[in-house]
């Protein structure tokens, strides 16, 4: 009983002593804080991981205007307008309302060419909701959709075939 009493005192003293030595040694460590936004070694966008999900970007030269992304978006923030033109079907608007976007990434998955994708840039806060809409087709201009070359189509067909075979294999009952 009495030995426990003095043991407690000893333990408290020793553990406090050790604890203090640990916290003081931590004080001399270099802080890991990144002082956003003005005191970072490089621009913050560069510091973001390469595949981070921030704003969406559409590579207009390879967009096929297939509207897959528009249909995939669960909250309808993508709006693509297409028109008939003497030269064929053209896009007169491709707006993404980033104020509504929830960065789920569902739109990037069905895109056949990978035109719509996330970029690490994120510092685009603004004072009005209008400015949050990113327009990929400039006002008054028309963009001709990308036509997938024949060779690519074959490849696609092949891959489609393979997929179908895979599915068939899966459907077979396991022995």
């Amino acid at each position: 009983m009495s030995s426990g009493y003095f043991n407690n005192i000893k333990e408290a003293t020793v553990s406090l002593f050790n604890g203090f030595a640990i916290t003081l040694s931590n004080m001399f460590r270099k802080p890991v804080t990144l002082q956003y936004p003005d005191k970072t070694p490089r621009s913050v966008t560069d510091l973001m991981p390469e595949r981070s999900r921030s704003w969406l970007k559409v590579e207009m030269p390879i967009c096929t205007a297939c509207l897959n992304c528009e249909k995939a978006c669960p909250i309808d923030c993508i709006k693509i307008t297409t028109e008939k033109d003497p030269s064929g079907r053209v896009m007169s608007g491709f707006d993404i309302d980033m104020a509504k976007c929830m960065y789920c990434g569902l739109c990037t998955e069905p895109c056949p060419t990978g035109a719509i994708h996330f970029i690490p840039e994120f510092e685009r806060a603004s004072f009005s909701l209008d400015q949050m809409i990113s327009r990929f087709v400039p006002e008054g201009e028309k963009v001709v959709p990308y036509k997938v070359p024949k060779k690519d189509k074959d490849e696609e067909k092949n891959s489609a075939k393979e997929e179908a075979e895979d599915k068939a294999a899966e459907a077979e009952p396991d022995a």
């Binding site: 003081l24 001399f28 460590r29």
Partner: protein, 399 residues
């Protein structure tokens, strides 16, 4: 002050009776003292605490407002001023409203007897140390009032805890302080300091083994009295939301924190005064600037502050070193450990004084050697820990 009041009365406010003018001047002086002296003290401590805490956690801490974030506390204060002052519907209104002021009062009246230098002291009461403990008791009333007046379970529990805690820890505080009082033979803080000397072997800390232990008892007990971690049960965030100040907002809320940081300073001041020789400066140093000059007083002030800030640093570090104790552990610690050891120390000091009225230099040097060895070993351990962590070294405190 009397003359100042008469001067004001004669030149500006001659229409009013002198007693009223006196009152106005008194309130004005209190206002100036609070705003100009105590608020920066508490604010500075809050800044220091946040920076130390940040560095211990590998962060930087506030460094944007003013040079190196020094004015952060002003920004916080102004923000709090503009916050809505909420009073819960079920609150006991009068109690709720005066509680923060009582806490504030309890802490800040103790500044009256703090000896900043051999001449800079507002009132050198002959019962100085008792006065300090008495004002701490006003704080308890304030905390219990805040707890009860809020009309909320969390606040109530916090208030009860703080009452239990502060009342319990008053006893070891008193006992530990008694050892220094016995040695000095006086309750006046100035006389206790005067009885010690500038050199470590003249401090009561190293006077004999019993005062050595008493210092640590007083340290722990004062930390507990200030409701500071690891004894911050009254405001245990994880259990009680924020304890007695849960329902407070705006300036009233800030007053509790003011009081907490002020207590941090008072804690350092009490320990320095009783055991570490207060403002004592070595004579040779004092003579070099002229013993009666203002520079000598400033030198004393600096010495006093230095000792205080070392202690404050330890208290802040303690907060980030040990986790919060449980209620029963806290009570155990007080009644089973601190109080008996405190009695032992008081008896020991009394017997020591009877046997060796002039002290034993051998024991003093032994204690100093032991402490120095411990401090060296401590720094060695810090060095080892740092080496083992393989972290990058950053000594500049102003990152």
């Amino acid at each position: 002050m009397e003359n100042f009041a008469i001067h004001i009365h004669e030149s500006y406010l001659y229409g009013l009776p002198l007693s009223v003018v006196n009152l106005i001047v008194m309130f004005g002086a209190a206002f100036v003292v609070l705003l100009g002296f105590v608020a920066p003290f508490a604010g500075l401590l809050s800044f220091i605490e946040r920076r130390i805490a940040a560095r211990i956690q590998c962060r930087i801490g506030p460094n944007r407002v003013g040079p190196q974030g020094l004015l952060q506390f002003l920004a916080d204060g102004v923000k709090s001023l503009f916050k809505e002052d909420l009073i819960p519907k079920v609150a006991d209104k009068p109690l709720f409203i005066i509680a923060p002021y009582l806490v504030f009062l309890g802490m800040f009246t103790s500044f009256v007897v703090l000896p900043f230098s051999s001449q800079w002291i507002v009132a050198d009461l002959n019962v100085g140390i008792l006065y300090l403990f008495a004002t701490a008791a006003i704080t308890v009333v304030g905390l219990v009032m805040a707890g009860w007046g809020s009309g909320s379970k969390w606040s109530m529990l916090g208030g009860m805890r703080s009452a239990a805690q502060i009342i319990s820890y008053e006893i070891p505080t008193g006992l530990a302080a008694l050892t220094a009082i016995l040695l000095a033979g006086s309750l006046s803080l100035q006389e206790i300091i005067a009885a010690q000397g500038p050199h470590p072997w003249q401090w009561y800390f190293f006077d004999n083994p019993f005062t050595f232990i008493a210092f640590f008892i007083l340290f722990v007990a004062l930390v507990a009295e200030g409701n500071r971690a690891p004894f911050d049960l009254p405001e245990a965030e994880t259990e009680l939301v924020s304890g007695y100040n849960t329902e407070y907002s705006g300036m009233r809320f800030l007053f509790f924190f003011f009081a907490e940081w002020a207590h941090l300073y008072v804690l350092g001041a009490i320990l320095t005064t009783l055991f570490l020789g207060g403002w004592q400066v070595p004579e040779s140093l004092l003579a070099s600037v002229g013993a009666e000059s203002i520079a000598a007083r400033i030198l004393e002030l600096v010495f006093f502050q230095l000792k205080i800030y070392v202690l404050v640093f330890l208290v802040v570090q303690l907060r980030w070193t040990v986790p919060r104790v449980r209620m029963d552990q806290m009570m155990d610690m007080c009644w089973k450990y601190l109080v008996p050891i405190g009695f032992f120390c008081v008896a020991g000091v009394a017997i020591w004084m009877m046997l060796f009225p002039d002290g034993v230099s051998f024991v003093k040097y032994l204690l100093i050697a032991f402490s120095s060895a411990m401090v060296l070993y401590y720094f060695y351990k810090v060095y080892r820990n740092f080496k083992d962590s393989r972290a990058e070294l950053e000594l500049n405190p102003f990152v």
